[in-house]
Amino acid sequence: MVPIVKDASAPLPVKQLPINSIPLVKRLSRLWRKYSLAVVGGVFFTIVLIVSVFAPTFAPYDPMTLDLKSRLAGPSAAHVFGTDNLGRDVLSRVIYGGRTVLSGAFAALAMSFAIGLSIGIIAGYKGGWLDNLFMRLMDILLSFPSVLLAILIVTSLGAGQTNVVIAIGIAQIPIFARLVRSIVLILVNQEYVAAARSLGARDRTIIFSHIFPNMIPPMLVQATAMLAIGIATLTALNFLGLGVETGTPDWGMMVADGQKLLFDAPHVAFFPGLCLVLTVLSVNFIGDGLRDHLDPRLRNQAG
């Protein structure tokens, strides 16, 4: 048998090169081209998160301290984002405002995720009248625009940050519930699930061992979309005065207070508004990047 001698000098086709043999810089460059917006979004959101969590460290002033002699001062070295109509430092209030907004949005997301997941699994796995009942309830909730639904719920429960979070959480439940149900309906008919059943696996085992892990990627993508919507809705409700108490640092409330100062001190509304827009954008970019990475069809198209 004649040995096949490969020409060691001939380079292998790029596609066939093992990943760890591609130079790091080139790898990073490829990732950057593919996920640049997601990276920018991720970096920005991480900064917002860290600054919000460690607000007392990063905020140069107490956000509630009044300094009436410095009212409506424009941006300066002493007050980088200027001061508001009660002389409070806008930068400090934007930082603490991030805390209010993100904690509320994450809480609403956690609530809607947990409840939506449970409803979707039960409806999709059990089917029958339970499925019908839950999905009709979800249809009723979905027939309202989410912001309007949140306003209606807050109006019934009373104003306050907790009630706003509950309202947003309730408004988002149907989205998770329907997504989870549709995934469960597909997975429950897979052969490995049938095999597990035939081997006597209990429903709980099937759900947690076989179905749930396969739900994570689409749920993650949906969660980022819901987080962005939650941030926007929360600030909208606070803008309307339905959420946080007057004077509490919050982006929505700061924009509301600053809107009548647009001709006199535009910085009061501009900076919290800008932070809100950039934060929502960054979360959306993260979601897009996750979708591109986790969806095999999109991943192959981009490869």
Partner: protein
């Protein structure tokens, strides 16, 4: 040759004569313009921004200042008032006589007047309109109307048309404010033709006797008014007034800056310094008289606010300078008590009590022996300067030992909660709706203001105060009345169920072309458009 010279000379003459005429005209125009600026000019449309527009213009149940501006422009009562002097002026009545005991009024109605729908203004029409709320059979009768006062009707013995031009009113007991009460919207006269035609819906088709008449009314949105050529005092200067409701201060300011609005009371106060400094935007600020009390009502039925020392502590804890400078952009004066400087019987002595002294506030709380911090809820309207005032006051009270929860409400919810007596601390205002102190002191009348923001009926001095308020109305001698109102002010300060924050001197935002803006009644929301004209 000769003809050419002639033509040139003729052309030159023509040019010279045209120049002369133009120079003459320019001089004439300059002279005319200079003259015109000193005298009112007729014509033009005035655009007014209001904070609301009610769904009805019925004088029995209008709501908000937008509707008030409209009603004050289209309506007229037996008499009018000069807000500056407090003097009663002729209206539909050209003269009147009051008996020496103050019980009998005879009004002589002008002859030949007509309502805006052409119906004649007679004594019979006036009596019918004034007695509408007592005549269930009248097609325009609505049960429960006249929420904002009803002409003092409870004190009327009789009201009759003696003849076509004479109205006689007999009272049960004297009322020093009776004439001035007729200058309020509830005292305006509605056309009987409108009442017959529209019945209960007359509020959507108001026809009265004022200087302007309704051309178009869109409930909740705007009213377009035309000058009334049949107005007894002559057609007003403006051709048209458009009074439009805007959703909030920010949109009013935007409309003002864009040139869509010529006059408003409702733009943000924080814009005042900029507009006062920079007149290039075509706007100016006219500062109104101090006719609006800004106050904090304390619910004396709530513990420990039932303790007068705690209420006095609240009074001393509040920094009124900060409220005026930071909350009102300087558009206010330090208060004394329940009456403002322009009111009969005003006593400036109250200023020694209505001032900032947090040390004294803390001492009073210690003397009161209450457990600190004292939890209280401060309710206020989510509008205008109220949120800023609430934050300032919350800051002040928290610093001396209170724990304030801010209760931000829309206008309707706030009004409902306040009138139901469910507020603990509440921010509100009282305007000099008519130039008489009686209107202001009713807030502490335990019968008329029972419940309400401060529950005056629960005060130990309730009966004494009520008796004083009653005598202030029934006493006719101005000097004696002044003494009574001084006593009322002292009692209010003593009990401190109402804390006075500032006398508001409201800024009136005006476009440069608007002339002769009244600063007195306008400050109280009673805008008088009859004297306003536009520089063309």
């Amino acid at each position: 040759m000769r003809s050419r010279v002639f033509l040139v000379l003729a052309a030159l003459a023509l040019i010279l004569s045209i120049s002369h005429v133009q120079a003459h005209n320019a001089t004439f125009q300059a002279t005319a313009q200079a003259t015109a600026q000193a005298t009112p000019q007729r014509g033009g449309t005035l655009n007014v921004a209001a904070e609301s527009m009610s769904n009805s213009l019925d004088i029995g149940f209008w709501q908000g200042f937008g509707a008030l501006h409209v009603i004050d422009s289209i309506g007229e009562g037996l008499v009018r008032a000069n807000f500056e002097t407090g003097k009663v002026l002729p209206g539909l009545a050209e003269s009147w006589k009051v008996s020496s005991d103050g019980l009998d009024y005879v009004f002589n109605i002008r002859k030949g007047m007509v309502f805006q729908d052409g119906a004649p203004i007679t004594a019979q029409a006036i009596v019918r309109s004034m007695k509408r709320s007592q005549t269930p059979k009248d097609p325009a009768y609505i049960d429960g109307m006249y929420m904002y006062g009803n002409q003092g009707i409870d004190n009327w013995q009789s009201l009759d048309a003696v003849d076509d031009n004479t109205v006689e009113l007999k009272l049960k007991k004297p009322n020093a404010t009776q004439l001035l009460v007729f200058t309020r919207p509830d005292g305006y006269i509605i056309s009987p033709k409108a009442m017959d035609t529209y019945g209960k819906d007359v509020g959507l088709h108001m026809a009265m006797a004022g200087p302007y008449k309704i051309e178009r009314f869109v409930p909740g949105q705007e009213a377009v008014l035309d000058a009334n050529p049949d107005y007894w005092a002559g057609k007003p200067y403006l051709d048209k007034i458009i009074i439009r409701a805007y959703p909030d201060e920010a949109s009013i300011l935007a409309a003002l800056q864009a040139g869509e609005v010529d006059l408003t009371l409702y733009a943000p106060f924080d814009s005042v310094p900029r507009i006062q400094k920079d007149s290039s935007g075509g706007l100016r600020i006219v500062v109104g008289a101090p006719l609006v009390d800004l106050l904090l009502g304390i619910n004396v039925t709530q513990k420990p606010l039932d303790n007068v020392m705690v209420r006095q502590a609240i009074n001393y804890a509040i920094d009124r300078d900060a409220i005026i400078q930071a909350g009102l952009a300087g558009m206010g004066q330090a208060p004394a008590s329940i009456l403002a400087p322009n009111d009969l019987g005003f006593d400036p002595a109250g200023k020694t009590i209505s001032h900032y002294d947090p040390t004294k506030a803390k001492q009073l709380l210690t003397q009161a022996g209450v457990t600190l911090p004292i939890p209280v809820t401060l309710s206020f309207e989510n509008d205008r300067f109220w949120p800023v005032l609430a934050e300032l006051i919350s800051n002040n009270l928290n610093a001396v030992g209170f724990k304030v929860t801010l209760d931000r409400l829309d206008q309707g919810s706030f009004a409902g909660k306040e009138s139901a007596g469910k507020t603990v601390l509440a921010l509100d205002q009282r305007s000099t709706f008519l130039p008489d102190p009686n209107d202001k002191v009713l807030i502490v009348d335990s019968v008329l203001s029972i419940g309400g923001m401060s529950h005056p009926e629960a005060l130990p001095t309730a009966k004494q105060l009520d008796a004083l308020i009653d005598s202030g109305t029934t006493t006719l001698d101005p000097a004696a009345r002044a003494g009574i109102y001084k006593q009322i002010q002292a009692m209010v300060l003593d009990q401190m169920n109402i804390v006075y924050l500032a006398y508001l001197t409201p800024p009136i935002f005006v476009r440069d072309r608007v002339q002769n803006v009244d600063t007195q009644g306008t400050a109280a929301g009673r805008v008088d458009f009859r004297g306003i004209w536009l520089k063309q």
